[in-house]
């Protein structure tokens, strides 16, 4: 005879635990004789609790979701910002002395940046175009521009970048960026330009 209420109690406790989904509340009485009314109240309370809890959880989840979304958006924006920054770095031109195709000392660091970018973004393929000022011979300048483009490529390749990731081309003096006919314009036009051929969608900062 002693087993029945015990069983009942255990059953109730299991039900409570199941309903609350948590620990049985210690204040909940477990009366033996009046178990029915009390347990109903307790069940009601527990139900209300669980609803409130669920609602709160839903709110929390939503908030977390929002937060996560925000974080994703933020990180995407950050990635975009970094892609933009990387692109700008990559597009930085290097310049040359008149009728020369030697990388200037100051421009080696510019190429080092590009090398780091290429290393951080293995899918990135670029094209280097060599350009000249208008003073030399029109057709010779195509050969000179070619030397300038390959000088930059050789620098990058000698620092470990796979040669197949870099194309070169020369435009001679055919595509000046400065139109004036003075030393300042000529200095600007004696340059290598760097453009992205592939893999430039999301660029990581090195």
């Amino acid at each position: 005879m002693k087993r029945l209420p015990l069983l009942l109690l255990t059953g109730l406790a299991v039900a409570l635990i199941a309903a609350c989904g948590g620990k049985p509340k210690p204040e909940t009485p477990a009366p033996a004789a009046t178990a029915n009314t009390d347990s109903i109240e307790a069940a009601e309370r527990a139900r209300a609790d669980s609803i409130a809890r669920a609602e709160k959880e839903a709110r929390d989840r939503e908030a977390a979701e929002r937060e996560a979304q925000q974080r994703r958006a933020d990180s995407l924006a950050a990635l975009g910002r970094s892609t933009e920054a990387v692109r700008t770095l990559l597009a930085t031109m290097i310049h040359f002395d008149y009728d020369k195709a030697l990388i200037r000392g100051g421009d080696a660091s510019v190429l080092d940046q590009k090398m780091a970018i290429l290393q951080a973004n293995p899918a990135l393929h670029i094209r280097i175009s060599g350009h000249c000022d208008e003073r030399g011979s029109d057709e010779y300048n195509l050969a000179l521009g070619n030397r300038r483009a390959t000088a930059a490529k050789q620098y990058l390749v000698s620092h470990g970048i796979d040669a197949s990731r870099i194309e070169t081309v020369s435009y001679g003096e055919e595509r000046p960026i400065a139109q004036a006919h003075d030393e300042e314009a000529w200095a600007q036009n004696r340059r290598d330009e760097f453009e992205i051929l592939a893999g430039g969608e999301n660029l990581k900062q090195p």
Partner: protein, 472 residues
């Protein structure tokens, strides 16, 4: 001993000997003229040395344009002194006598009365033209069946030198000017026995497009059909095709275009690398060109007849080789090489062997030399060289390897020979902007070809074939 006076006397007599011994050295003219004022100033150029030529007034208004073109072609040939009749060009010769059959039939009978006797029925008033300083007189008369007869009179011999007959297209037809130019070339051939350059055109590049223009500055037309930036047009020896280079995405492609149809085709082996400065072999079967790869720039040839057989003629790992130009016998190629540190003019056999320096230079003193073009007579190679920071046109004598500077006013570059190997088109900024000029290498006389800024990279055609006149 009075060495000073002795030397002075010796030097003086030597100078006198030199002056008398070499009065008119061929290819000794220098362009020192103040060209902008239209005045010829020069040491070598002497009016009167050249034979005088009178082109008679025409009896028919329709022939005025023909006469005007012929007179200008005669003038531009720089081989005659064109003589204007007293009374100028306004007079018109009367209709020719009714029987145009006889070669000695006079032209311009009216001239005999109006201007002191151009001709009488039995022939030209030769003593009159002799007195005017004319060696040749040219009469242009209409003949039966829409044809035109051009009579070349030899004043000294007192007879007709040659009678030329031509069927000229109507004035305003596409082929009219070229047909008249061809007639003018025949006049030159009939009188002096040398070929003229009137029936020729010059290709050039302006704003990245290829244009053609007649040698007298008329009829400028766009011939490149794509939006790609173009460079370096070059004629085939038959005057029916030309090659040029275009920038495509990341490389330079060569095309060969048909003059008459305007159709073009890419050169078979072109497309991946940067190919430029095409040059036809004299037989038109081979195209030599420069190819820039990462190793550097080198000269290649390709068989354009069969579209095959790419051959590499130079291997310069640490220097560039470019801008090939064939000798007219097709056996040699002059080109630019940077092996001495700066670009200079080299020569090799057409198969790439026996490469050697062509135009001598002084290490450390002579500037870069570029853009060689072998003359059609094979005797000279024109090129431009950096002189004190600007470019000047030079001529290399192939036999003696002597180099002579031809220009000195402004920046002058990219010379191209006319088929007479005597006239040359080049780019000059002497008028304030870069445009095309023509110089007569023998007299130094110079004229602008067109008045547009930005024209460059000219290529003078050979004498154009008849069919080229029907070009659209």
């Amino acid at each position: 001993m009075k060495p000073g006076s002795r030397f002075g006397g010796w030097a003086g007599s030597l100078t006198a000997v030199l002056l008398t011994a070499y009065p008119a050295n061929r290819l000794s003219a220098q362009d020192t003229s103040a060209i902008d004022r239209g005045v010829r100033i020069g040491i070598v150029y002497r009016p009167g040395v050249r034979p005088g030529m009178v082109v008679l007034p025409v009896p028919k208004a329709a022939l005025d344009s023909v006469r005007a073109l012929v007179v200008r072609d005669v003038d531009y040939s720089d081989r005659f002194e064109p003589i204007t009749l007293p009374g100028g060009d306004s007079i018109r010769a009367a209709s020719p006598p009714s029987s145009p059959s006889a070669g000695r039939t006079a032209t311009g009978g009216g001239g005999a009365r109006g201007t002191g006797g151009a001709a009488v029925a039995t022939g030209l008033n030769y003593p009159l033209y002799q007195a005017l300083g004319a060696d040749f007189v040219v009469g242009i008369t209409p003949a039966a069946g829409d044809s035109t007869v051009v009579t070349v009179y030899d004043v000294a011999a007192g007879g007709v030198r040659r009678e030329l007959r031509a069927r000229l297209p109507a004035l305003g037809d596409a082929g009219f000017r070229l047909a008249v130019h061809r007639l003018a070339d025949r006049v030159l051939e009939a009188s002096l026995g040398v070929g003229g350059t009137a029936a020729t055109r010059i290709l050039f590049v302006m704003n990245g497009k290829v244009y053609t223009i007649d040698q007298d500055g008329a009829d400028q037309r766009l011939v490149s059909s794509s939006d790609h930036q173009a460079m370096s047009p070059a004629w085939a020896g038959d005057g029916r095709r030309f090659a040029y280079m275009e920038f495509w995405e990341g490389h330079g492609r060569l095309f060969v275009q048909d003059v008459a149809s305007g159709k073009r085709a890419p050169v078979a082996t072109t497309g991946q690398a940067l190919d430029f400065t095409p040059a036809f072999s004299p037989d038109g079967k081979t195209l030599a060109f420069s190819r820039a790869i990462e190793e550097g720039t080198d000269v290649y040839t390709v068989n354009v007849k069969d579209g095959c057989c790419l051959q590499r003629l130079t291997v310069g790992r640490f220097y560039d080789n470019l801008s090939p130009t064939y000798s007219p016998d097709g056996r040699r190629i002059a080109f630019v090489s940077t092996r001495p540190g700066l670009p200079q003019i080299y020569v090799m056999s057409a198969d790439g062997t026996d490469q050697q320096l062509f135009a001598p230079f002084d290490y450390g003193a002579t500037g870069s030399s570029n853009a060689p073009e072998w003359s059609p007579d094979g005797q000279t190679v024109a090129f431009h060289r950096d002189v004190g920071g600007t470019l000047q046109v030079f001529v290399l004598d192939v036999r003696t390897r002597a180099v002579r500077q031809l220009t000195s006013v402004g920046r002058n570059e990219d010379p191209t020979w006319a088929p007479d190997s005597r006239h040359m088109a080049f780019v000059s900024d002497r008028s304030g902007y870069r445009q095309l000029w023509i110089i007569d290498v023998e007299t130094g006389r110079i004229r602008p070809l067109l008045q547009q800024s930005g024209a460059r990279l000219p290529a003078w055609s050979p004498r154009l074939p008849e069919t080229a006149s029907s070009a659209p």
